[in-house]
Symmetry: C2
Subunit: 677 residues, 2 copies
């Protein structure tokens, strides 16, 4: 038997999908190693998937879209308890990447009753509880004796931490903090698993001692009786109701009616409060960005995975769906033949790779910066924080866009829950809002860019951080993209740099213009960012971020040794740079940096690389090695046998349990009978 | 008491919303008359809403997001039977606009068990059944003795009618047609209400007589027993399963196993088949566009309503939500103060009006063309068909975009089903796919544009239809938008015309280039539309359509006599033309028709009009006069009392029926207990 480069071919597969796989120019296992960071990591993913495939107790007992929210939560809790017992047989539980993959396969995208326990509650205790406190609570949390979450956001208050209303007032007499919710807008609102599953939470509240407000601090709070799981007296708690998606998570509300906790439940790693109410400041009060940076860096991978999942479904289905004849004497063609279909899907394939590579680079950068911090170099974290703010915003937005296009590329069947794409969309698009609303994120980056521009303007370009060094470099008068086509993407990067630099300096000019007119810095910033030019600032941030993504993609491709992989990814990168440049072309046309004929050149390049990528399209997505269990999509099945399985799926839909619905028996039949009289 | 221009102010309202309403520069009832077409129509809407408000049996018995799909269907059937009895007390049932409004209020957006009966089944019988057949079936359908739908699409076949696989073979011996589903892909799939509610359907199948295939024809088919509602022998039928949205409708599948119907069930208004199998052709076989045009023209209004609904929710909420301080000594500001928020919402407000006006104009055009057709002028319908193809595509896409932006503008709470925006999005975005997939629609229009361009190129511009006459007019060398600011939008229209014309002629050049090289027309078209330049063609179609929308908006504003209304809509139109032009600017920068400084001018105009619209923003949406019953949104409540009602809503969510969930009792509690041992 011939060794196929694409490792997904099996007997019984839909031949229309197999023929796509046979044209792969690279080994999909090797590509998986690129995607997941190493050969070992990719292999472990396959091993884990194979083990899960053999454990039916970890599979969905029926398709998730057929379950009510309550049933989904039950199903997820069922799997959680099995995993608690058997996890060690499947993965190395100390390896976060293996745990992440296990969760995606078994529990899926829609969340689970302990989603926040591992990613927020335990990290909050680890970062903010004293050693003594950790000794008391951490082992219990790790053994899952208790389930916890992190409660900060309130009904009336999101990102603006200072305006939270929940108070923790110190009662000297009893040495307790009294937690209180002064009005409805002060209810904790949104924290995941707060509503029903957790019995503990780290709660953020304004700490008040002897009538002085020391600002928001974290407290460890028991919410429910450990035996009965009933809410404790003084606690109002519940689920906030169904959402657009992510409905297995019981996002909750929480109110306190003068609820008392011991003084020692204030998390005291940094701040301390003594029994007599003495407040001891943390040694350095500087904002600690690292938790935010950490979450946002890892969000990129999550978004890349969701984008690639949706594209995987749509591209496989586009290979087996035939519609329309180009030549009337021939059978209907695969819809993947249509250039419009390629144009809908392929640029997003490039983005999924770009996001994955940019994400990996950001995580590395984060680890590097953490090390630097330990040796006293704190400034880099602020730089990285600015970058991740922009990345989070651009990546979540473009991911949502790409997933919806993938869904629509599936025609009517994309709209069916059998595609599962709309659920992926619902989960992914939440990323535009949580962990910092995207518009706010862009303005955070803009603030950093304007500061950097100030260095350029005052002749201090040498002080620019590495991520913004290009702001200090003079660019050529016009782009050379079409004149040096083999520049290894250098001319493309230069064009992105020019556009981003120009927009940043333009935005900064507005700011400094106001400063020169005598406005105070903060007022000038507000005038710029709020009153008049916020849009210009957010554009500068977007352009800077897109430049970084392009550069990360270029850097990664340059590192690759395997020639087949390199070639395939170089084609993808060609599509990426041309497509992205076309998308922001008006910025470069404006000042003549790009000419109309260069724009035509870019368009032609896009068409050219759509065609080049076509033979590898399915394989580029197969390489992410999502199992059918993880994808949960009838349209996206590995074997491409879509139609018989759509029929099977539909027949088992809840509405088909009976031939005659109760709504007919009770209402429609009597209505018709009456009319017949 | 002062007469407020905004008619939505009541005691007990959130003062932050009232203050927005007090700044209205126009009477919202007068604006409603513009939106709904006449003072009378607007007044009737208010009267109908008022009546419904007093009939609790027609209200949702609990919020729809708290119901399972089965419960929603039950609820909807319940209301349907009440409406069947009481409709006449509320509306004039012969007035489609009143019926439409009633349905939106009482049944809502998510469909109902008889959604297709009125809009597809009865019209299909009316258009395609002979007088004799109509006499037999129509009265029964109108009295609701039977429930019907229209079944055309198949599992493996969407838009391409010729490739349907279901057959109706004539059996001369028994004078019956034998309906058959040869394989799984031939199952009827998607028709609304086919799965569970309907007992009849008009089914499209290839008619075969004496081994000759006469192509797809419509047949009246009984699916279920009228007494028991059980499927008849030979019929496989059921619901296709849950979808992204619109889940009250039981979209269905249907298979035939040699299922026999009388010959006289072929709908014989046009084609006839005699007892001996003789086939009698219809007098003129020309494609009848009018049904498609009719549906698409009315879709525009539906989309405008959904866009305005989402914006209404987001804009009201943005007026009561406060976040962030511009000046630290002041309280937090309304998020509507932020220019980014205005930029997210206001251009879409302009589009909602533009779509509504363009929709009304298209309906009028349709009625005019129908009249012309009766006097023999058939050509105009093809022109209108091309236009509505483009409109359907552009409007559904931009509506989806606008609704999602509205949702995200609500921050986290937009993601909650309490906003209801994600449900509106799910329903609206379906419009991109049904009634002709958007990409296919754009190419239909492109074909018409290229034909029109051929007339220009061959010096026959005088033969151009009125909708494309601008293709034959020479444009100035550069735009004059900033030089003649008081041109009454003429210079803007000219700029849109220039851009659309240039792109159309460019696309046509590709086509004619291939023709000149000796390609046959159909092959050249396919090469253009499929192989290489499909994207260019779809762009031309988009630009042409956007031009039409702008022109329709301009025409409407020019007609208005009421000075306050005219001023407010003129501001909105200013925002519209500048925003839209900015969006397509690269096409005009390319050939220097717009200069960089003109682009700056356009941007400034966008900022300027965001500010001008601000005092009217809430009132521009109040004017659509959606009741709270229709909006179904906690965030979008007329009274703006959002937070207490969010809490009330959440408390009644199904998960809060018990303090301890079964998932906890059964799984999580035992897991924690075990860990404590």
């Amino acid at each position: 038997m011939v060794q196929n480069l694409n490792k997904n071919i099996q007997e019984g597969d839909n031949p229309d999908l197999t023929s796509e796989r046979l044209t792969s120019t690279f080994n999909t296992n090797d590509m998986a190693a690129q995607i997941w960071g190493s050969e070992k990591r990719a292999r472990r993913r396959r091993e884990i998937s194979a083990k899960i495939a053999q454990m039916p107790e970890l599979h969905d007992s029926k398709p998730l879209p057929f379950m009510t929210r309550e049933e989904k939560i039950m199903e997820s809790a069922r799997k959680l308890t099995i995993l608690t017992e058997k996890m060690g047989q499947i993965i190395d539980p100390t390896d976060p990447a293996e745990l992440y993959h296990l969760n995606n396969e078994v529990l899926g995208l829609e969340g689970n009753p302990m989603a926040l326990h591992g990613v927020m509650f335990i990290p909050a205790l680890s970062a903010q509880a004293s050693d003594e406190q950790q000794a008391k609570w951490l082992p219990r949390a790790l053994r899952r004796e208790i389930i916890g979450t992190y409660a900060q956001t309130e009904l009336g208050h999101g990102t603006n931490l200072q305006n939270l209303e929940t108070t923790a007032t110190y009662d000297l007499a009893t040495q307790e903090f009294v937690l209180h919710t002064p009005q409805i807008t002060a209810l904790k609102w949104w924290p995941g698993n707060l509503g029903k599953s957790s019995n503990y939470a780290v709660v953020v509240a304004h700490m008040i001692i002897k009538a002085k407000n020391y600002g928001p601090h974290p407290f460890m709070v028991q919410l429910r009786d450990e035996k009965t799981h009933e809410p404790l007296p003084g606690i109002t708690i519940g689920d906030i109701g169904p959402k657009m998606a992510y409905n297995i998570v019981d996002n909750g509300f929480l109110g306190f009616n003068k609820y008392r906790i011991p003084r020692t439940n204030l998390l005291m790693r940094h701040t301390k409060v003594e029994a007599d109410g003495t407040y001891i400041k943390p040694p350095h009060a500087k904002i600690n960005y690292s938790a935010m940076v950490h979450v946002r860096a890892y969000m990129l991978t999550g978004q890349a995975i969701m984008l690639a999942s949706a594209l995987n479904i749509a591209t496989r289905y586009s290979s087996v769906r035939r519609q329309g004849q180009i030549d009337k004497s021939q059978p209907e063609v695969k819809v993947l033949e249509y250039q419009t279909q390629q144009h809908r899907l392929f640029p997003s394939i490039a983005r999924a790779y770009a996001f994955q590579f940019a994400g990996a680079e950001t995580v590395k950068l984060y680890e590097h910066v953490l090390k630097e911090m330990k040796s006293g170099n704190v400034s880099l974290m602020a730089d990285l924080h600015a970058l991740t703010s922009g990345l989070k915003s651009v990546v979540t937005y473009q991911t949502g866009e790409g997933i919806e296009q993938a869904r629509m590329a599936c025609g009517g069947h994309g709209y069916s829950m059998a595609s599962y794409i709309s659920e992926i969309y619902g989960v992914a698009i939440g990323g535009c809002t949580y962990e910092g609303e995207n518009m706010v994120m862009l303005l955070q980056l803009a603030r950093y860019l304007v500061k950097s521009a100030a260095l350029v303007k005052s002749g201090q370009s040498s002080k620019l951080g590495p991520l913004v060094a290009y702001l200090g470099v003079k660019s050529e008068p016009t782009s050379l993209i079409d004149r040096i086509p083999n520049s290894g993407f250098t001319e493309y990067v230069k064009t992105f740099q020019h556009v981003s630099k120009r927009q940043t300096l333009k935005a900064a000019d507005m700011f400094f213009g106001l400063m020169e007119k005598g406005e105070k810095r903060e007022i000038a910033w507000n005038k710029c960012s709020v009153e008049l030019n916020r849009l210009a600032f957010s554009q500068a941030s977007r352009l800077h971020t897109r430049l970084f993504i392009v550069e990360a993609f270029v850097r990664r491709v340059n590192e690759i040794a395997d020639i087949r992989i390199k070639e395939a990814l170089t084609d993808l990168l060609h599509l990426h740079v041309n497509y992205e440049l076309l998308d922001i072309a008006s910025y470069a046309l404006e000042d003549g940096f790009l000419s109309a004929s260069q724009l035509d050149y870019i368009r032609d390049q896009v068409y050219l690389y759509l065609g080049k990528i076509r033979p590898n399209a399915v394989s580029l997505l197969d390489s992410w090695e999502f199992s059918d269990i993880e994808l949960r999509s009838v349209l996206g099945r590995r074997d491409g046998n879509v139609y018989e399985n759509l029929f099977k799926w539909a027949k088992s839909s809840p509405l088909n349990k009976t031939d005659v619905l109760p709504s007919v028996t009770q209402y429609l039949k009597p209505m018709m009978e009456k009319a017949r009289l």
